[in-house]
């Protein structure tokens, strides 16, 4: 069934994109509603999961443009993600956890298109070709957006580290 197979993927995509758990649940419901309405238009020659992710991507970006989530704050990283990893070196572990929190919050500074590209590539680990299909963009554009997103996040991480060092 569609819900069993795809709900986790769509919900995680929505949560990573919006940054709010409650919002992500509502968005997931809306995306499934949209999916049921569009099922009759599905072209069987296409890859279903890429098609579904395209619907999700379009809906998320539309909603983002309409409501501008970037003005809102994201949930704290540890609100829903648990730190289960045990590090041999506690200091290194603390730095990694801090990095994760900074990068998670930093996603809010990315534009909707760059944010989506980064989520698909770096969080979900998709191939560039698949991302280009989901985002209906040329491969080169996808690669350059991902590079821009990573640079932006790296610069945010740099600022955070500099501020920490000053303290």
């Amino acid at each position: 069934m569609l819900v069993d197979t795809y709900s986790k993927r769509i919900f995680n995509m929505a949560y990573q994109f919006a940054g709010s758990y409650q919002e992500a649940e509502d968005l997931t419901q809306d995306i499934f509603l949209k999916l049921y309405n569009s099922l009759s238009k599905f072209d069987f020659k296409r890859n279903f999961s890429a098609w579904l992710l395209t619907i999700a991507r379009n809906y998320l970006i539309d909603q983002y443009r309409r409501t501008k989530w970037e003005k809102q704050t994201r949930d704290n990283f540890n609100d829903h993600y648990l730190t289960s990893e045990a590090f041999e070196n506690p200091e290194e572990g603390a730095v990694k956890e801090e990095n994760k929190r900074t990068v998670w919050q930093g996603i809010n500074n990315l534009t909707s298109e760059i944010r989506m590209a980064i989520i698909l590539r770096d969080i979900q680990g998709k191939q560039y070709e698949e991302i280009a299909e989901i985002m209906s963009l040329p491969l080169g554009t996808v690669k350059s957006r991902i590079n821009r997103g990573r640079l932006q996040l790296a610069k945010i991480l740099k600022e955070k580290k500099e501020r920490r060092n000053e303290m």
Binding site: K8, D122, N147, L153, A154, K158
Partner: protein, 168 residues
């Protein structure tokens, strides 16, 4: 090579997608440029942090909501079998205009100033009518004067003496 150009190559360098020559150029630049080298190591840390973000499980509450969507849809369809077209996006501007018109009409019928609106409308209509009448009268006088001009022109043409022609 400038730092800006190197920045554009950092992701492909990180993912080992550059050709040997480009790879060599970036590696050489990173050895000499402290800023780009720092940025590159932070980019690696960023990517590691992002790939470490785990997948969350979907809550029971959301699953219930998702399972109930097809049922809700069916119920809606049974109740309103022929009105699906009303929710089409293309119809939205027409519905908006119709709503505004209805609001204006309701203001006219149920508003306290109905008689004054009536008066002003009839005044406007009367004004427009009189304007048309004046225009019509003007047009008539213009056609009459055109007739006079025509006669004058004909008389003048008859009286023209062409050079070299007979006197009679």
């Amino acid at each position: 090579m400038k730092c800006k150009t190197i920045e554009e190559l950092l992701s492909p360098y990180l993912e080992d997608e550059l050709n040997t020559e480009e790879k060599g150029t970036v590696a050489k630049h990173l050895k000499t440029c402290e800023n780009c080298s720092l940025l590159f190591s932070l980019m690696k840390e960023t990517q590691e942090s992002l790939s470490d973000i785990p997948e969350l499980e979907v809550s029971e509450n959301l699953l219930d909501r998702l399972y109930s969507i097809p049922r809700k849809k069916k119920r809606f369809k049974l109740r309103f079998p022929n009105f699906d077209f009303l929710v089409r996006p293309s119809l939205q501007p027409i519905l908006t205009v119709a709503t505004i018109m209805l609001i204006m009409i309701s203001f006219y019928f149920y508003g306290p100033n109905k008689s004054s609106i009536d008066k002003s409308i009839s005044r406007k209509i009367g004004y427009g009518y009189s304007k048309i009448e004046r225009l019509y009268a003007k047009a008539e006088s213009f056609t009459a004067s055109l007739g006079e001009y025509k006669d004058n022109i004909l008389v003048s043409l008859k009286n023209i003496k062409l050079p070299g022609g007979n006197e009679d």
